[in-house]
């Protein structure tokens, strides 16, 4: 490999700065589609606080893989169970993270996944019960290194 000239080194450095700055600027201006995701899931109804315990690290050093686990209080019987839980990240390029579908056979409304977070932001969980009631919970995660690439 040829040694990199001073000029090339500057060009590379400049390119890197541009690459890292542009997505950030875009994020700041355009909020993502979190509101649409929430509206679609809730059908415009208000979600009450509670029932969900959402476990996320306060500070995620690597946004590429952030462990998330959640539990929703529910007897999980055929009469009363958690139907769906939607996870939303309000600072990612796309707000949707995952939709978890439970059934009475799940036994417990408990799940864990690993998610990508582009920047420091809120992660929102919305749960829909079998009777149609809605619950919500949110956590802020500080992200040191973004997980969506540039």
């Amino acid at each position: 490999m040829k040694p990199i000239s001073r000029r090339q080194a500057f060009a590379l450095g400049g390119g890197f700065v541009a690459l890292t700055l542009v997505p950030m600027a875009a994020d700041a201006q355009v909020s993502n589609d979190a509101a649409q995701w929430i509206a679609k899931f809730t059908g415009g109804k208000e979600a009450a606080k509670g029932k969900i315990s959402l476990d996320l690290p306060e500070i995620a050093e690597n946004g590429n893989t952030v462990p998330l686990s959640l539990t929703v209080q529910s007897p999980m019987t055929a009469e009363s169970y958690v139907k769906e839980v939607m996870l939303i990240a309000d600072g990612n390029p796309n707000a949707g993270v995952a939709t978890l579908m439970f059934s009475p056979l799940s036994g417990k409304a408990e799940a864990a996944v690993r998610i990508r977070l582009a920047a420091t932001q809120n992660v929102i969980a919305l749960a829909k019960m079998s009777d149609g009631s809605l619950f919500t919970e949110q956590k802020t995660v500080k992200v040191t290194i973004g997980g969506c690439g540039g």
Partner: protein
């Protein structure tokens, strides 16, 4: 890609016991947000759906978005009332489905 999914669950359970199931499948989960060295966007390729059935009945499923990390790890629970087989399926954007099966028995 061709790697066998890793699934961890007990071989036996007492009737009505709620067991924990851990699954991990090797997959790039390309978000569609990244660009290659030439600045062209790398097309999205993710596993968009995971499902688990027990003796044909749905236990747990999830719809995944690009915000799920590479090599998706999914952990959930299941209530076991009878002997049977858990069937797992991961559906890729391109339509391929990775499947796996695990048996469980009720402790005598």
């Amino acid at each position: 890609m061709a790697d066998k999914p890793r699934i961890k669950l007990p071989k036996e359970a007492t009737k009505g016991e709620i067991i924990q199931i851990k699954t991990l499948v090797s997959h790039v989960m390309e978000s569609g947000q990244r660009k290659d060295a030439q600045g062209k966007p790398i097309p999205r390729k993710i596993i968009n759906k995971f499902s688990c059935e027990f003796n044909g009945k749905p236990v747990f499923a999830c719809a995944l978005e690009p915000a799920i990390s590479a090599n998706p790890y999914i952990q959930f629970t299941a209530r076991v009332d009878e002997d049977g087989t858990f069937k797992f399926a991961w559906t890729d954007d391109d339509g391929t489905v990775i499947t796996a099966e695990e048996k469980i028995a009720i402790k005598a």
